[in-house]
């Protein structure tokens, strides 16, 4: 029994250490919680976390980042309910699945917590759940713009590498791209999974089976990085028309090398940073911008890569 007590005491100590650290780091003033739908493995959200921390520091407010570890949206609903119960001044959340999340978000709004929808969702949905505003990139429109751009460059067929098949909002990008090209989506979208080597091999397999493919669209660094490797290994790098959503170290390098034509930057920095600024000023001075904020799309090409390169993966 004594050894058990010792273990218990040890565990309590180990468990308590980060809690104490978290307590000391707490800033004065308002408290805002950002809830995302991203699993722990999604590196893209690192930018969001950095921007959130920066905004918290600059505005002198306390900020917290929460996500469902496996990316399960039903778990995310519980996290929003939890955030509401902890009584923050505001919640910044994605609206990855309206059916699941609208209830918890409405409950948060109704219990007096101000909500801003960021990243996933639409302005209409944000208004419907009673959120103050929507900050993000309308996904379908971004895909459409990309498709129209590719069409002007002479593309007629494409492969869309979807690593988040479970998020229907992201799949809209592929649909938009197809519509922009004026072709049917058909079987152009593949479910690549999230494992880098699986993605690489699936892209290779698809290109082997469909050698006439004009263009590749990837939906983020998770699918873009392995796709770059795949193209390098089969010699199609620089030859095939390659566009991607979002940025990351490897994507920036590939744009520089001419492997990737353009990257669509939805500027996640603004999606995390602006809501904190907006909420803080709203709570301190009662001022609120009158409209939703489009954080993107911005096309990033080989011109003007410097700042992007400097902060890729950190703030860009």
């Amino acid at each position: 029994m004594t050894s058990f007590l010792k273990t218990a005491a040890m565990t309590a100590l180990v468990a308590a250490a980060p809690l104490l650290a978290a307590g000391q780091a707490a800033a004065e003033g308002e408290r805002y919680v950002l809830v995302s739908h991203a699993p722990d493995s999604d590196s893209w959200w690192n930018t969001i976390r950095n921007a959130l921390a920066l905004a918290g520091e600059q505005m002198g407010v306390e900020v917290e980042y929460r996500n469902p570890p496996t990316g399960d949206i039903a778990d995310m609903a519980r996290i929003i309910e939890q955030a509401t119960a902890s009584g923050p001044d505001g919640i910044i959340t994605t609206l990855a699945d309206f059916d699941v999340l609208s209830g918890p978000i409405r409950a948060a709004v109704d219990s007096g917590v101000d909500v801003i929808i960021m990243n996933s969702g639409t302005p209409e949905q944000a208004a419907e759940v009673g959120a103050l505003m929507y900050v993000g990139q309308p996904e379908y429109d971004a895909g459409l713009a990309a498709g129209q751009r590719a069409a002007r460059d002479g593309v007629t067929s494409f492969l869309c590498v979807n690593h988040v098949i479970s998020n229907p909002v992201v799949a809209e990008r592929c649909q938009g791209f197809a519509d922009g090209l004026g072709v049917d989506l058909g079987d152009s979208m593949i479910d690549s999974g999230t494992d880098p080597s699986e993605i690489q091999n699936r892209v290779l397999a698809y290109l082997n089976a469909n050698p006439d493919t004009d263009a590749i669209l990837t939906l983020g660094p998770t699918s873009a990085d392995p796709t770059i490797l795949a193209l390098e290994s089969n010699g199609m790098a620089g030859d095939i028309y390659f566009g991607t959503f979002d940025l990351g170290d490897n994507i920036v390098q590939a744009i520089r090398d001419g492997v990737i034509e353009w990257g669509i930057d939805q500027q996640p920095f603004l999606q995390a940073y602006l809501p904190v600024v907006v909420l803080t000023n709203y709570h301190r001075y009662g001022v609120l911008p009158g409209n939703n904020i489009n954080s993107g799309p911005g096309f990033i090409t080989a011109d003007g890569l410097e700042l992007v390169e400097e902060f890729a993966g950190e703030f860009r």
Binding site: M1, S3, F4, T7, A8, T11, A12, V14, A15, A16, P18, L19, A22, G23, A26, D40, E64, Y65, R66, N67, P69, T70, G71, D72, I73, A74, A77, R78, I79, E81, Q82, A83, T84, A85, S86, G87, D97, F98, D99, V100, G103, R106, A107, V109, D110, S111, G112, G130, I165, S166, P168, A171, D191
Partner: protein, 370 residues
């Protein structure tokens, strides 16, 4: 206690302390007390113990409980089911496809899904028994197969992986409220009138209590725990479960229908997963292809924290329920305590390790190893 034991010379005398120690629930009870003490100290003023907070971790714990009961009884019977998480996704999607895409009445979709999933559970068990392969491998295959279908069917039929609109379909259905409804609303209205719980400040529900009622999810969890506990400790079939898991061959010699017991336990695990899925789908009104990812391990963790042995033949449903409670409270409590969310898995690992060490210690006491 020792007085009654002296009546039969075949029963070895045991001190009350030792008796308490070898109860499988012990780890769970100690853990529950420790966890609540911990969060009362560190997160008391964070909203964790107001009405919304309590409902939050109770709901999460109840989710774990539902799948832990099935996993626990199967583990006691000496087998694993790794397909629980995929089964949750599959069952939810099945209800969505039957009710929304095919337009069946929701009660029929639910009953068909239960029949379908329990048959898959039975098939899992049948393959394990017939081939003699470890259930670990067979259900691992089921994990991939079911998850694959869960993505394939909606993708093929509806061109998307989340199917919504189930709440509209379930409007006025007689069976749906048994999974997605809530009970005890008047109690919460009364509590709110007394000022014991908060009310919504604005919106079209202003003035209503922040908690509608107790979700059926929690009712199901408690009912399943009671059912499992009674079956396991008060019936002959319960003894068969222990026997089948302790030593299958020895159990066969004394006439226990080991194969039937194991297959039934696989079916029960599938049933629990389907209850989980149905409650979730009815509450949220949509089914997604990624629902339930990794839930099989969460079920196993809850069961192990609750004192069951991975080798079978030993464990308790009450212990598993406490394990689920600990798991749920820790998971949500860490958020309340403001712990960096990337450290969440570290805590989970520490708690799991701690529980397993404690259980090994208990096993040594039982078997008399030194």
């Amino acid at each position: 206690m020792s007085d009654t034991a002296t009546g039969d010379e075949r029963v070895k005398e045991m001190s009350g302390f030792r008796k308490a120690l070898i109860r499988p629930e012990l780890g769970g009870i100690v853990g529950t007390v420790a966890v609540f003490t911990f969060f009362l100290l560190f997160a008391a003023d964070s909203g964790m113990f107001n009405a919304q907070g309590i409902m939050n971790w109770s709901t999460v714990s109840a989710q774990f409980m539902i799948i832990a009961v099935g996993a626990c009884m199967l583990m006691i019977a000496g087998e694993f089911d790794l397909s629980v998480g995929s089964m949750i996704g599959f069952a939810g999607m099945s209800i969505a496809i039957f009710s929304v895409t095919l337009g069946w009445p929701v009660w029929m979709a639910i009953l068909t899904t239960f029949a379908l999933c329990i048959s898959i559970g039975a098939l899992n068990g049948y393959i394990v028994i017939k081939t003699g392969l470890p259930s670990f491998i067979v259900t691992l295959a089921a994990l991939f197969i079911l998850r694959g279908f869960t993505i394939f069917f909606p993708q093929t039929i509806e061109r998307r992986t989340i199917i919504g609109g189930i709440d509209d379909a379930a409007e006025g259905d007689w069976l749906a409220p048994i999974f997605g409804g809530e009970i005890g609303q008047p109690i919460f209205v009364w509590l709110a009138d007394l000022g014991l719980i908060d009310v919504f400040e604005r919106g079209n529900r202003a003035g209503e209590p922040v908690i509608d009622g107790i979700p059926m999810l929690i009712v199901w969890a408690i009912a399943l725990v009671i059912f499992g506990h009674i079956v396991l400790t008060r019936t002959r079939f319960g003894n068969w479960i222990f026997a089948a898991g302790g030593d299958a061959q020895a159990a066969r010699y004394v006439g226990v229908p080991v194969n039937r017991v194991k297959i039934l336990m696989f079916m029960f695990t599938a049933f629990c997963a389907t209850v989980f899925a149905t409650c979730q789908v009815m509450e949220f009104g949509s089914a997604g292809a990624d629902r339930g990812v990794l839930k099989e391990f969460e079920a196993i963790i809850a069961v192990v924290i609750g004192g069951a042995l991975l080798t079978g033949g030993y464990g308790s449903v009450v212990g598993a329920a406490l394990g689920a409670l600990i798991f749920g409270v820790v998971q949500q409590g860490l958020f309340f305590a403001g712990v960096e969310s990337s450290l969440f898995r570290v805590f989970l690992g520490v708690i799991l390790l701690f529980a397993v060490i404690l259980n090994t210690y208990i096993r040594r006491i039982i078997t008399g190893e030194r």
